[in-house]
Amino acid sequence: MSTTVPPLVETRSLSRTYVVGDVRVEALAGVDLAVAAGRFIAVTGASGSGKSTLLNLLGGLDTPSAGTITVGGELVSSMSRDELARYRRSGVGVIFQSFNLIPARTALENVELPLVFAGLERAERRRRASELLTEVGLAHRANHRPPELSGGEQQRVAVARALANGPRLLLADEPTGNLDSRTSREIVGLLAALNREAGLTIIMVSHEEALVSEFAHGMVRLMDGRVVESGGAA
């Protein structure tokens, strides 16, 4: 990687403090991170080390208490609520441990969801969502609802949904936490393929050392809201 190219994701002294009652909890305490475009980075750390907080901030779901976040040249940390919505819609895709699909909607409709908020026409949405489901190998399950799908299938739907608006960055918060080891490997393999073939930048929170070492380019370890070890991100 050339050092002259600015990283896709960059945080400076990123902090997030929660106040619960009288107690201040420092979930993130000054994280400096730079992830170059096209990298597949794993974030590890013990429970409560700030991994999810970091991902929520990068995904525009939460706003920092201090510090800055830059994604693709945009200063995410100073965006308004509406700008953040637009950023979530098109700048970043997220997948979760618990999939977070809408149970009453079919796989196809779940994938369509971001396209609805982007204001696309119905026919165009359908076409794009079908393509994405085909891409993750679920074209035959398009009209099934999440409760009728296996965990691995649900996570594939979630991946397709995260990619709907063509983001350059994909955030995965313990995507294999609810899956067996074989399915876990399939999902992380799918992410790696997207990273390899489409140049998608991926930041994945994971505990699974084997998968991380097999697929990820680099790793960031957090402890008590601070980066204690990092390598291969830039």
Binding site: R86, A104, L113, F117
Partner: protein, 452 residues
């Protein structure tokens, strides 16, 4: 997010919670139904009264009363907007005055308001009634609404006109059969000859006043329809009417009312009231002014109608307020349902935000949901209110038909009631949706998506 998609999302979520949507909309339905039937009842009554006023020709008449020192202040009905005289205070409302009034331009007829009490016998039944003297010109006008038979053709024709309600009290069910039958008027007179011959001694000896009863037979010429409002705005307060000619031949105490008695004690003769029929309502102002300049007080129902209209406005307000209570309850139902919906869909809202829904998108979805409830409830409420009103109208008319009251519609449904009700329902539901929609928009996706 496209408008159609936001509507679609709202519909999907309403359909998913069918029972609750139905129950909430049912609350709105009942509220709007109550409001619609209340307002249509108010409007119906107003319409009926206005129409019967108009039909009765009453707006074209003017009541003239003496404008003396006391004026008509003895009138117990103080609410009457009687316009006081602006002319001489001692003008007497006698035949000359009546003649002068009838010569005024715009006056069709002027006749004294004369009535006298008498015992009336019809078909074996007897009752004490006030008999009103009405000229033929008025009896044959549309003010009278004679439904069976005919009015007397001249002021000299012997015969009476009775009302249907009078016949009912006398036990006659069929008004058509009454035409041509005989009605007997028995007047009571003081036998002056006997009073003089027996002197005071006779009085004191316990024989009482020497009273003579005279009977006069009249054929029933016509029967007027009973007013649906219990006599209501009928110009004739009495329900036995007679022409001036035969009335003059009935011997009676020369007292036609308490007013005359009062007046006579002061040594002034004159009528207590004179009815003036006008060619058109447009003449009311000029004729009224001229009459007041002559020294008399006037009373016109048309003047009072403005007051009646104000009364109806007030009545409609009260009815609407009753309906509003139901609407407020329904609105709280909407708020409750929508807030519940937020709690249930907390995670779903979080998901929508995570994939790019803006605060405005979420707000719109919830707003449309409550709007749809209002629209559906309002439309159904119109139907409910309409159906209920028809049913009540049917039952009431069925009951009143047994009392001889003709069929009338107690409810009126101008188009604006329905349009207004649906619009109002939509407005109420949107207002009810403001708080839930804002609250939904403020859902924090991090909290909503936290692993559970």
């Amino acid at each position: 997010m496209r408008f159609a998609d936001a509507v679609g999302f709202a519909m999907v979520s309403l359909r998913k919670r069918r029972l609750r949507t139905f129950l909430t909309a049912a609350g709105v339905t009942i509220g709007i139904g109550a409001l619609v039937s209340m307002i249509s009842f108010g409007k119906g009554i107003q319409k009926n009264v206005s129409e019967s006023f108009r039909a009765s020709d009453l707006f074209n008449s003017l009541m003239v009363m003496p404008g003396g020192p006391e004026g008509p202040s003895g009138d117990p009905d103080e609410g009457r907007p009687v316009k006081a005289t602006v002319g001489p205070k001692d003008a007497v409302l006698d035949d000359a005055a009546v003649a002068a009034i009838s010569r005024l331009p715009g006056v069709r007829a002027a006749y004294p308001d004369i009535s006298f009490p008498a015992m009336v016998r019809y078909d074996g039944e007897e009752e004490f009634r006030l008999i009103q003297v009405v000229p033929a010109a008025v009896a044959s006008s549309k003010a009278m609404a004679i439904k069976w038979g005919r009015p007397y053709s001249s002021d000299e024709e012997t015969g009476v006109i009775v009302s249907r309600s009078f016949l009912r009290r006398m036990g006659t069910r069929d008004p058509a059969a009454a035409v041509g039958k005989t009605l007997t008027v028995m007047s009571v007179t003081l036998d002056l000859g006997q009073l003089l011959s027996s002197g005071l001694g006779g009085l004191l000896s316990g024989k009482g006043l020497p009273v003579a009863t005279e009977s006069y037979d009249f054929p029933v010429l016509g029967v007027t329809e009973m007013s649906p409002f219990g006599g209501g705005p009928n110009p004739m307060q009495s329900d036995v009417l007679i022409a001036p000619g035969p009335a003059g031949r009935i011997k009676r105490l020369p007292i036609s009312s308490v007013w005359d008695l009062f007046r006579m004690q002061k040594g002034r003769l004159g009528y207590s009231a004179v009815t003036v029929k006008l060619g058109s309502i447009g003449d009311l102002e000029t004729v009224g002014t001229r009459v007041r300049e002559m020294g008399f007080a006037t009373f016109a129902l048309a003047d009072q109608f403005a007051e009646i209209t104000r009364g109806f406005y007030f009545m409609n307000m009260v009815l609407a307020a009753v309906g509003m209570i139901a609407i407020v309850v329904a609105a709280l139902g909407i708020v409750n349902t929508m807030v519940m919906s937020i709690l249930e869909r907390y995670r779903e809202i979080g998901v929508m935000k995570a994939v790019g829904a803006s605060d405005g998108d979420i707000r719109r979805i919830f707003f449309f949901e409550s709007g749809a409830i209002g629209l559906a409830g309002g439309t159904a409420g119109c139907l409910l209110g309409w159906a209920t009103s028809l049913l009540i109208n049917k039952v009431v008319n069925l009951y009143l038909a047994g009392q001889g009251v003709p069929h009338i519609s107690y409810f009126a449904f101008p188009a604006w009631i329905f349009l207004g009700a649906v619009g109002f329902s939509l407005l109420v539901s949107l207002v009810s949706g403001i708080y839930p929609a804002r609250r939904a928009a403020r859902v924090d996706p991090v909290v909503a998506l936290r692993h559970d």
